[in-house]
Symmetry: C2
DNA sequence: GAGTGGTCTAGACCACTGC
DNA sequence: CAGTGGTCTAGACCACTCG
């Protein structure tokens, strides 16, 4: 029999269960207090009440607000910090993670030079148009066939050399209309762009990699021979609540670069 | 100025600093108590005192042994658990992680079918011989050129179909001599093999992926056309103390399978 | 029921940041 | 200096496992 108390899902509970972990039990769903706190914090993030880059209230304030001990709030934030949703900075506070943070850049771009250090990446938008979702895109983005989408084609250069050609599919329902001008005018990563222009934050992604022969168009863009091996990287990106909000296929020329992955 | 106490690096400290966090400070190196505890636990693992699959002492016993609070031991174990070094099981104890654990299997094999569920993998050792390290292998494994190594070639099948051909390089200095018979007689993953037969535990790995054309030998083994694109996966595996103990290059046929990666 | 990990609290103090 | 996150303790109780 469970005894851990369930806190009330109030926006700003002023009073709450008890100091010690007693209280009314047998709620329909059970989870430790710190996970309930985490859920409440997630709601705040999802609702946009706390925006990327901003500080959230201090641990002690949250503890008071939720009528729990600071350690419990701390454990909730610990998990969210491990999931790259929040960033702690000692002496300053806890902040909502942002793709503007340079440290977050290589979290979603695993391409590194075969030899030597890091290089400057440059994104060059090629085309951008609206279309209707085909069966594959619809399936990956949990849309209906025919739903409006934006398609972006862009080239990624490292040290001035073309390395990746991407085709990116974005649901019209949440992105509205994306234009080539918007993309060209923005300086920063695509995910920074999504975050600041559309308020859409990518939390995690799944990638599926294969080796494929270069088609003619991609071969030209990447300066490789048609039919030569390219690394195909298909990615679905998810926002809060595991909602898929982007699908893309990238073709990587791996002559001078490779996809780097760390297995923990 | 730091005030946190440094515990004595004794094998089994019976008495220690103080109940509260006062004590002699200004040690040459500073780190929180729980990290020092973690280091001590790591030593035990590395020394083989606690073997994979075995239970380590309970949190309260460790707390007593190290004269710290249970919460501090807990935090050390938390981190090691997050790093897949230890596994907690509520009500039973904390255990040394093992590659025999089926849950650990897909941690180092990111290959999944393009369609549908999971399949049974089968490893077929092809060849095994001793050689001297060339420049590339020596560099990756931090050996000297000419040092003895074992080379294993093996085929990986999924549902009876060949999908991966691997060439695996193992330092002779720590593996001694590996033979085809040993490999054939063992049932389980290669890392289980290393763990139980050589006492070598792979902790983490780095992989570098590229797309390459199939050479003739690999093409035949994988039943694909010579020159067709294959996914090249080079991996360096590390044991305790970030010591590189395995280098391998795998060629993956990605017609019906893909390399799956989750970006957190 | 004894033993283990898991949760929660309350309070103390340390380390860092910025005013 | 005040305020923030970071560490540590001591003690209580909960949930799970097994004999």
């Amino acid at each position: 029999m469970e005894k851990y108390v369930q806190i009330r899902p109030m926006p700003d509970p002023t009073v709450s269960p008890k100091g010690t972990s007693q209280g009314a039990a047998s709620s329909p769903t059970f989870s430790p207090l710190y996970r309930q706190i985490k859920s409440l914090l997630l709601q705040r993030l999802e609702s946009g009440e706390w925006r990327p880059g901003e500080a959230i209230p201090s641990e002690s304030e949250l503890a008071t607000r939720f009528s729990v001990s600071q350690g419990t709030v701390r454990k909730a934030i610990d998990e969210m910090s491990a999931e790259n949703l929040l960033v702690r900075r000692q002496g300053k506070g806890t902040f909502v993670a942002s793709h503007d943070d340079p440290r977050a850049f290589f979290r979603f771009l695993r391409l590194v030079p075969l030899t030597g250090g890091i290089e400057q990446a440059q994104s060059i938008p090629l085309e951008c148009w609206r279309a209707k979702a085909g069966p594959e895109v619809a399936r990956m983005l949990e849309l209906n066939i025919g739903d409006p989408i934006n398609i972006v084609r862009r080239l990624l250069q490292f040290a001035g050399k073309p390395v990746v050609v991407d085709e990116i599919y974005l649901p019209g329902a949440i992105f509205g209309t994306v234009t080539l001008e918007m993309l060209r005018d923005f300086h920063g990563s695509l995910y920074s762009f999504f975050e600041s222009k559309f308020g859409i934050r990518m939390i995690r992604a799944e990638e599926r990699l294969r080796a494929v022969p270069a088609d003619r168009a991609s071969a030209e863009l990447l300066h490789v021979a048609e039919g030569s091996p390219l690394l195909s990287v298909e990615r679905v990106s998810f926002s809060y609540g595991d909602k898929p909000v982007e699908w893309r296929r990238g073709l990587y020329a791996t002559n001078e670069h490779c996809y780097f992955n760390e297995l923990g």
